[in-house]
Amino acid sequence: MAYDPLVLLDAYRRMRAIREFEERMRREVQAGTVPGFVHLYCGQEAVAVGMCMHLRDSDYIGSTHRGHGHCIAKGCDIGEMLLEIYCKQGGLCNGKGGSMHIADLRKGMLGANAIVGASPPIAVGAALSQKTLGTDGVAVSFIGDGASNQGTVAEALNMAAVLKLPMIFMYENNGYAEFTGAGYHLGGGQIAKRASGFGMPAEAVDGVDFFAVYDACARAVDRARRGEGPSAIEAIAMRWYGHFEGDMQLYRDPKEVDRLRANSDPLKKFEERATAEFGLQADELREIDEEITELIDDKVAIAIAAPKPPREALYTDVYGSY
């Protein structure tokens, strides 16, 4: 496969933005500025970006409680994301959703979701809209390894298969569901094999390797756009940090984490190959790095300083009319 350097630069920018965003969130949580619970996406950047590079604003994604990476990859405004994570007015949900419910329908982002397994049926509904309205749009559901056990996921797979919907099930096997390893909680051990039991192409890929993810997603998205129905991809990429920021990670050998950082950095891997094989220059990447750092610095400061939602907001937007 050939890769357009502009596409690769864009992919890098998104992955770097996720990394920087999450590392900054981590520091902010530790500094005590962030309300609520925050689940970081570091280590999995290539999954969200490898997928979302193929998507338009009019395509939909359903996300998880670990949704920052999906938002950024799908093009949500970083400033508005931060306002939301800080539960401020003007945030993507006007401060009523927070990190675990962040959504942006203008960008086709159907919402993070704090109910594990609730999102796939919703994403299937978006795929149904695409099909019924006759667009060539698609819908993607991001699903954790732990979530893959929820019954709702099986139902979503079946519905997408039966109705031949333009749908991609993007499993993110990051090795753990909270404090339990996938080696224990996942009967059969292979999510992709399960999905193929519902009658759709399913493959497992190295989720640390942007190019592998990108290629698999290209096939799945094309197939969906052509009206040939759903597929599933299991991207394997361990998470770098705890389940939520603050998790002591007793279940994990610290050496596992060290090894991950050393050998399984999606950004490092990307840069090596993109510079060696596809002509990207290290300094243009460093420039991107700087831009992003600056952007996030600015936006975090703005978010922290921004006004809280007004008292009356408690009562608004429960209904359109009541």
Binding site: G91, G125, E155
Partner: protein, 338 residues
């Protein structure tokens, strides 16, 4: 004016709304029927109770969609489709099945608008079926509109006659919030005058089905029929009973109820939902909190007992509120002298 059954009124409304707006789709189990069957018959069912009959022929299977037995996916996908440009009407075959898909209502559809900061609409309607009396036993006979009404962010509709069913369903489909539309098995065959043309009945506006000034009865769904009968019978004795059908369990037309209680000072609530934390308690509570000064007697609640619905037809009949029990309650509240 043409006379139509409750069932016919609902089918007609679905047809009119689908003609009116291409974004309206139907989905559910066997709402068409016959897919994958050996006969090749295009519509082998038209819904378990025939409510969606004939619609696939007009609108095609892309808009009248048979699904597998996966209620979480049905209700969940309807919610997702509502966020993304459709106005889905999903069928939950029996309201008893709410337990297998409640999260998609409780934490998803009901909360989308609020937790997304008002930046979406959620025009989904869930049609479902409530009510005992068919000998269908403990898992197919419940009336759970009160449980659903407890959820902020959804609307719960309980039409008691064909005319209301049509106007309320049209409102439900055009409404931008999630609506649970609770049909009652025993009303499908009941008929009344129903205009052919489109009309809307707003949510939160009660219907006073009998005017009176001595006792207020508030009743929901099928129980409105029983309340009317009792009111008519007592009218012959000169007892003047006002019957209020809220039509929507949520939003509730508090004002009509409070006004009536202010007038009569006596309240009987009749519901086929349970006696505990349901609509009957809610109405009684409303009176205790907001019409206390007018009340002249204890509120009377007539509901089934706090038990499942038994399979035995005789026990089931004993379970359902009866004319006799309602009449007794009305007389009791009248004779209460404080």
């Amino acid at each position: 004016m043409p006379v139509k059954s409750y069932r016919e009124a609902i089918t007609e409304t679905l047809r009119q709304e689908m003609r009116r707006d291409k974004r309206v789709i139907l989905m559910g189990e066997d709402i068409v029927g016959g897919m994958g069957g050996s006969s090749g018959v295009f519509e082998a069912a038209g819904g378990t109770f025939g409510v969606t009959a004939g619609l696939a022929a007009e609108f095609g299977r892309n808009r009248v969609i048979d699904t597998s037995i996966t209620e979480s996916a049905i209700v969940g996908a309807a919610g997702g489709a509502a966020l993304t440009g459709l106005r889905p009407v999903a069928e939950l075959m029996f309201i008893d099945f709410i337990g297998v898909c409640l999260d998609q209502i409780l934490n998803q559809q009901a909360k989308f608008r609020y937790m997304f900061g008002g930046r979406c609409t959620v025009p989904v309607t869930i049609r479902t079926l409530m009510g005992a009396g068919y000998g269908a036993g403990p898992q197919h006979s419940a009336s759970l509109h009160g449980m659903l009404a407890s959820i902020a962010g959804i609307k719960v509709v309980t039409p008691s006659n064909a005319y209301d069913a049509k106007g309320l369903l049209a409102t439900a489909i055009r409404d931008d919030d999630p609506v649970i539309f609770c049909e009652h098995k025993f009303l499908y065959g009941e008929s009344c005058e129903v205009p052919d043309g489109e009309y809307l009945i707003p949510f939160g506006e009660a219907n006073v089905t009998r005017e009176g000034n001595q006792v207020t009865i508030v009743a929901f769904s099928r129980m409105v029929l029983l309340a009317n009968k009792v009111a008519d019978k007592l009218a012959k004795e000169g007892i003047s009973v006002e019957v209020i059908d809220p039509r929507t369990a949520s939003p509730l037309d508090k004002d009509s109820i409070l006004e009536s209680v202010e007038k009569t000072g006596r309240l009987v609530v009749i519901d086929e939902g349970g006696p505990y934390c349901g609509m009957a308690s809610e109405i009684a509570s409303l009176a205790a909190c907001e019409a206390f000064e007018s009340l002249k007697a204890p509120v009377q609640k007539i509901t089934p007992p706090h038990t499942p619905v038994p399979a035995s037809a005789e026990l089931e009949q004993e379970w359902i509120p009866s004319l006799a029990k309602i009449e007794r309650a009305v007389r009791a509240t009248l004779s209460a002298n404080l």
